[in-house]
């Protein structure tokens, strides 16, 4: 694990001048993840989404490293094609045997949990040496805050509206990190832009893994979550402190979690009430919904704890 001083000397691969919103969690996630590659050359793949449209407006690019965008649902297939080319060109003697390149794909939750899920699963099963990073902001933010399977239960989104009979999204979010862990790849982790040290450390492990690695990074969105742009990191930290977003990893089948310390612990309502997408839950009649969310959060946290205990060596 590098010190913050060492990290500050690393070259920036996603440079300034891009068109992402102020306070966007995606750019923070990308910059911290790429620090984990240290000095090794990196080729970046990207699904269609905010990150892609905001960093590659022709004729400009914000990427000071080779970059490819193909379409929405196929970032994993595309980057593994690049990785296959690297192997094939090595086998052909067209690039040096000792040349080391890392491959990483970024996709939002729409491009990963939903439309890109099949391509991701296929790429993981094939065992390519690459890192897939989902920057999870819990909705289709690029098209205007439509619900995805990562959207939390009872959250407002423009396709899971809050109305007289339905209080936001009726379904729970998909536990993608556990599903990826079920592929039994070398490294899987859940991280957050609110915990930079943990995230960079996990990114380093992901890049160092021999085979596929996956990071699910919570990346709050000021527009979609309805909060002021200066609050991104604070809200991401609250997601961790409330146990809403457990920080865990599955390294070669062993689950470990960064536990929330007692003095840091906050109720989930504290995390919810700072976001406009949950404001309808703070009317008196919605109290049972808040209780339901707290129960879900506690149950999920306990599930991760059980997985950690069961796989402890």
């Amino acid at each position: 694990m590098a010190s913050i001083k060492e990290l500050s000397l690393q070259p920036e691969r996603l440079v300034g001048g891009h068109r992402l919103c102020g306070g966007c969690g995606a750019s923070i996630a990308v910059r911290q993840v790429l620090l984990g590659a240290r000095d090794t050359e990196v080729v970046v793949g990207c699904a269609t989404g905010c990150l892609e449209v905001s960093t590659t407006a022709l004729p400009y690019t914000s990427w000071d490293t080779s970059f490819i965008h193909n379409a929405f649902e196929n970032a994993a297939a595309t980057i593994t094609g690049v990785e296959a080319a690297y192997k094939g060109l090595k086998a052909a003697g067209k690039i040096a045997k000792d040349k080391e390149i890392k491959f990483v794909a970024f996709g939002g939750d729409g491009g990963t949990y939903d439309i890109g899920f099949q391509a991701l699963s296929g790429a993981l099963e094939r065992g390519h040496d690459f890192v897939y990073v989902c920057y999870d902001n819990g909705a289709y933010m690029n098209t205007g805050i439509q619900r995805s399977s990562a959207t939390p239960i009872h959250a407002w989104a423009t396709t899971s509206e809050v109305g007289k009979v339905i209080p936001g999204k009726p379904q729970k979010r998909k536990d993608l990190t556990s599903i990826v862990a079920a592929h039994h790849i070398p490294y899987v982790a859940q991280a957050s832009v609110g915990n930079w040290k943990d995230l960079v450390d996990k990114a380093e492990k992901a890049f160092a893994a021999d085979g596929p690695a996956f990071l699910n990074v919570l990346a709050p969105c000021p527009r979609g979550w309805r909060y002021e742009s200066a609050q991104t990191v604070e809200i991401a930290r609250m997601a961790f402190r409330s146990k809403f977003w457990p920080l865990f990893e599955v390294a070669n089948g062993v689950w470990t979690m960064k536990e929330v310390k007692e003095k840091e612990l906050i109720p989930v309502v504290d995390f919810l009430k700072v976001q406009g997408r949950f404001k309808h839950l703070f009317k008196p009649e919605a109290a049972p919904l808040l209780e339901e969310i707290q129960k879900d959060v506690d149950e999920y946290y306990a599930y991760i704890q059980r997985m950690c205990a069961a796989s402890a060596q």
């Binding site: 490293t65 094609g81 094939g88 094939r126």
Partner: protein, 394 residues
Amino acid sequence: MPDITVLAATGNLMVSEALRQAEPDVIAAYPITPQTAVVEEYSKYVADGRVHTEYVNVESEHSSLSACIGASAAGARVATATSSQGLALMWEELHIASGMRLPIVMANANRAISAPINIHGDHSDVMGARDSGWVIMFAETAQEAYDNTLISFRIAEHPDVQLPVMTTLDGFITTHAMERCEILDDEVVKAYVGERTPINPLINGDKPVSHGMFASLGNSYFKVKKAERAAIDASHPIIKQVGDEWANICKRPFDYVDAYECDDADFIIVVLGSAAGNVRAVARDLRAQGIKAGVLRIRVYRPFPAAEVLEALKGAKAVGIFDRSDAFGAQYGPVGLDVRTALYDLPARIPTRNYIYGLGGADITIQTIKDAFDELQQLAAGSIDEGLCYLGVR
């Protein structure tokens, strides 16, 4: 004359052999009837260490072309193969491959499109891709599938083209029937196909490049598309140049079209792919009876060889255009639309009839082809009208 191996082979085997000899750095493919034997055969080459290819067994055709796009952008020589529903699933990626100007060679076993589901040969799948910016060739025989596949690499990777190329053969009729075929020596083929010299590849050592940019602002999308139109138009002379180069080596002719007895023909049938042999057989019989029949087979379908088609058809009294797919809602089938558009440039009008034939692998018999030639004589005499008809539906 280089050494050749003569063998009894299916079209699928000949495509596999051509791919083995061109030896792509990456093949990403997914099995589908009737292409399956191509990917199975290639798996053996990989398992036996006969090729250095990184062989990626993807989970769908969408991912196969997606991975090919990544690999081609990275700088690799890339190929794949598909058919029917697989080609349909690739639709989005077909346009991205050509829009990103990425050389990829894809063999397509031409097959019907659902619904209803049908695994047999027609051109419904490839015709759905005809305007997606790919160079497209139709093989008549297994031998030609081999030749076209090899030529495809030279077209795709040519510095002035840089486009994906589809090398197609008719499902079952050509993919599975066994014919006498010739394979040239590996060294001869490798010297012909050469190596790819990529332009601005992702993996290049020192210069970061961005591929697949966002072009929604200003005029940039429009400019890129104009350049794409220029590239496929520019491929026309290059196709002949690299095709002739191969023809000189293998001693088999190459041209955009294969015009059989068209010079003085009164009645010509235009056809693509495996049905051409039967049409020629009928034309030969008719010639023996004193009827001046001819056959124009189109081998390079995109870019459409309008000048060559016109040259062959210009003296005809009536033309029958055979289409092994329909373009529902349009006036004619796809080949009908293309050929009639080309004919508009002639000073004198030639009447045509557009025959939709052999859908879902339905047999095209000698008798039905004779019926079509009979109709062309009536059309020239003015006793029947132009139009579209389904030929041989029982």
